[in-house]
Amino acid sequence: MAILVGDDTRLVVQGLTGREGSFHGLRNRDYGTNLVAGVTPGKGGSDVEGVPITDTVAEAVKSTGANTSMVFVPPRFAADAILESHDAGIEVIIAITEGIPAMDMAKVVGYLRRGNGASLIGPNCPGVISPDKANVGIIPGEICRRGPVGLVSRSGTLTYQIVHELTQRGIGQSSCVGIGGDPIPGSDFIDILAKFEADDETELVVLTGEIGGDAEERAAAWARANMTKPVVAYIAGFTAPAGKRMGHAGAIISGSKGTAAAKAEALESAGIRVGRNPSEVAELVAEAL
């Protein structure tokens, strides 16, 4: 099964004619993802290495049956691109773009969540890979292998590190989902945990969090109440100084809330084992499987 992306994925890339969009879109195709179209207003009718370009997402949906979109447009156009995919009936929208204003996302995320049930992953995220099936985003496919572990993370490269540790130990992944570190993500830990809980292929979930906000604490409470599958966690930022903004907009500590220690405690008190570093996470997974 896997979640979000897989054999049924029919991908349209918004911004496929751009430098980054074409590089990663075609890389996703090389991985085996069914890339059916690109959207660039005004370039409809052309193609990128055989992938047809349309002017609107609606047209791509109509002419190619696209059901998943990857947003690779500049920040100022990204909220509009997400709304366009939603309006066109796209089911899974994966927004890679970094630097979208929080006001834009507050409006878009709230709107989508009250809408037709489409999933928005990101923005400012590495995407989703279901090894051997489909890769939508920038996660390097070669570090993954198919298997029973679902991963969900607010961080990109940290996810790679953990996937790498798992793969090196021979442990494969069902799907790896980067939800992004922005203040208002389209999907949060709970959304993805619920999908993994319902997924046949997933036997265990690794949750990778970081300082700031209370997403990990809420996920811990939710998992305790709703998860039957084991969860192993990692939190980055134990030694981050308070009040400093470290890259992700989410990574700000204020007072006692949102510290790595508080998050780890919340997870552990929900029965979730927390690794002290990425290697230890992989070891805990190996033990639990």
Partner: protein, 383 residues
């Protein structure tokens, strides 16, 4: 970006939120002129981004322009919790009958905006939240539908604002909300909101934080930013497009992605070391970025070793290696550099480094191994 009080008030004034009339001064003479322009009694307020200005002596009344100059000369240059006062805000003084609290912020969990109001103003709102949570009225505002009049009423009536201040407070909320949204703010906090002797309601202090990501639609952000003092090293890093924060230790850290860098700080600390900085080269960094990152970090004399921890995704390890080699060729490298490469084109990158041996360059196989090595080298160098 957190704005200074005077900047926040200037912004709010543009949205017709009532704020006291005031002028900024950087010298006592300017303060005298400002007070003269305002006429009557004034208050001179240190412009620093730290709480507790008043207790520290950073806020003083003045009955005349001359007194305003005297007061300003005492406040300017003052050190308040590590912040040097470079500017004062000279404001017309008014008598205050009551102090309230009012704020709008983004509630991440609810994915909505949150309005907060309390009749207990002028003090730390977190203290109120702890000791008397019912004293804070809260309303969620769906960003799609925006603020409706009832939200303002729920805040004002819910907080039990004094009868005389209700109308003014209800009238002030829509412009404050507009300012919050249109400034792309993550927070606008008015503490205290005051009822004056003559029955007006106004923002006596204002804390405004704006979203740097929205700078493309706010040309004024650059101007606002110019007033902020950024440490020299951070400023240079920023100019080179690096996300850099100075810390207190001696192990320089370079990584790609905020999460991985934070994790690297943690493992260095766990290995007994002290990180000298946080430096995220971001996604898709090329050779030049890496070379710049090494330059910025090694310019700090306290750095005894550097750990480069890269897991390539959108970033290519061959370009990382190229950047490291370029820095080694370009700079007179005096501290050891431990490099760990994995992910996209990692083998090529590792080979490039192995093919160009340098006495200061140390390859490492794993993240934990790299951290241990960097700490060991720092300790050796510091000894």
């Amino acid at each position: 970006m957190d704005l200074f009080e005077y900047q926040g008030k200037e912004c709010l004034r543009r949205f017709e939120v009532p704020v006291p009339e005031g002028r900024v001064a950087t010298t006592p003479d300017e303060a005298v002129a400002a007070a003269r322009g305002l006429g009557g009694k004034v208050v001179v307020k240190a412009q620093v981004q730290v709480g507790g200005r008043g207790k520290a002596g950073g806020i003083k009344p003045a009955g005349s322009p001359e007194e305003a100059g005297d007061v300003a000369s005492r406040i300017l240059g003052m050190d308040i919790k590590g912040h040097t006062v470079k500017r004062v805000l000279v404001e017309r003084a008014g008598d205050i009958r009551s102090e309230y609290y009012l704020a709008f912020l983004v509630d991440r969990s609810a994915r909505m905006f949150l309005g907060l109001m309390s009749a207990k103003g002028g003090i730390d709102i977190e203290e109120v939240a702890d000791t008397d949570p019912d004293a804070i009225a809260r309303v969620h505002i769906d960003p799609a539908i925006g603020l409706s009049d009832f939200h303002a009423r729920r805040l004002v009536f819910g907080a039990g604002i004094d009868h005389q201040a209700r109308k003014g407070a209800i009238a002030l909320i829509p412009p404050l909300y507009r300012a919050f949204v249109e400034l792309d703010a993550s927070l606008v906090e008015v503490n205290p909101l005051v009822l004056t002797g003559d029955g007006r309601v106004m923002a006596l202090d204002a804390k405004v934080s704006v979203d740097d990501s929205a700078e493309f639609r706010h040309p004024s952000f650059a101007e606002l930013k110019a007033a902020h003092d950024i440490p020299e090293q951070e400023r240079r890093a920023k100019e080179k497009g690096l996300n850099f924060i100075k810390l207190e230790g001696d192990v320089g850290i370079i990584g790609n992605g905020a999460g991985l860098v934070m994790s690297t700080l943690d493992v260095v600390k766990a290995a007994g070391g002290d990180p000298a900085n946080f430096l995220d080269v971001g996604g898709g960094a090329g050779a030049e970025v890496l070379s710049n990152a090494l330059e910025v970090i090694t310019s700090d004399r306290s750095v005894k070793s550097v750990l480069v921890n890269i897991f390539g995704g959108i970033t290519r390890c061959d370009l990382v290696a190229e950047g490291i080699l370029s820095a080694l060729g370009r700079l007179d490298m005096e501290v050891p550099i431990v490099v760990r490469l994995d992910g996209t084109n990692a083998e090529q990158g590792r080979k490039m480094l192995a093919d160009a041996p340098h006495p200061m360059l140390h390859a490492a196989e794993t993240m934990l191994g790299a951290a241990a090595r960097a700490v060991e080298l720092a300790h050796a160098g510091g000894a």
